[in-house]
């Protein structure tokens, strides 16, 4: 997107939440910042999780991600800065899978915008995760009978 304060990315490296939060803090007219961090849980379905592998259909995911940010901005025009970064590749428990941050003059729109983006990201982005348990078992989340949800 042309506006520097609106950023959607699929990231193959580690996501640095502090670096992203600093961007949200840079405009001193924005008093309310809300950040969501979705991290890989160390357990799912009562079993210990070894790792998650995220696979993205990148061209479509970026297009859809930008569309989600546009929608959030249209619904909550007070939001002046909105960042979403989703990880790709292999992640271990505790690692950051998705970052969503919103900044606006007041808190209400920052909360609503952040929530809108994460819900849409989870339901619409063409990204998949394969969950591997410590037992060696592995499955694609939401694609098999047992629905895993190792991450938030």
């Amino acid at each position: 997107m042309s506006d520097l304060d609106f950023q959607f990315e699929i990231c193959q490296n580690k996501i640095n939440p502090e670096c992203l939060a600093e961007k949200l803090r840079s405009d001193k007219s924005l008093g309310g910042i809300v950040v969501f961090e979705g991290r890989v849980r160390n357990q799912s379905e009562g079993k210990k999780v070894l790792k998650l592998e995220y696979e993205a259909y990148k061209a479509l995911a970026i297009q859809e991600g930008v569309k989600i940010l546009d929608e959030a901005r249209a619904k909550h025009p007070e939001i002046k800065s909105l960042i979403c970064v989703h990880a790709e590749g292999e992640l271990e428990p505790g690692e950051l899978a998705v970052f969503v941050g919103a900044a606006s003059a007041h808190r209400d729109e920052a909360f609503l915008g952040c929530r809108y983006v994460i819900e849409a990201v989870k339901h619409r982005l063409p990204i998949w995760k394969k969950e591997t348990f410590e037992t060696g078992e592995a499955h694609w989340v939401n694609c098999s009978e047992h629905h895993g949800a190792a991450c938030n």
């Binding site: 979705g38 995220y54 696979e55 259909y57 061209a59 479509l60 995911a61 297009q63 859809e64 989703h86 899978a97 998705v98 994460i118 990201v121 989870k122 339901h123 619409r124 982005l125 063409p126 990204i127 998949w128 995760k129 394969k130 694609w140 989340v141 939401n142 694609c143 098999s144 991450c151 938030n152």
Partner: protein
Amino acid sequence: MWDNNYFSGNYMSAQAPTKQIKVRYFAILREERGLDLEEISTNCETLEQLYKELSNRYRFSLEASRLAVSQNDNFAAWTDPVKHGSTIVFIPPVAGG
């Protein structure tokens, strides 16, 4: 090669012309197919017909009703025509975040 108007009356009951397309596979479909990308020729008219054909051939575990589909990096309807030269992706239930 073929007529862009093949959906008009003349072709309705005829075999649709053969189209060259690419299919990209992700996640569980990639594993079930055993590859990321293939180029194929098909006579299928719609994306739904194409998925059913491939699903019969490769025994995909997911019903079409659980998938979405894209053509040329845009979400598409199952009833959309298969376009010659396009790249098609069948999208398993997503699990971002």
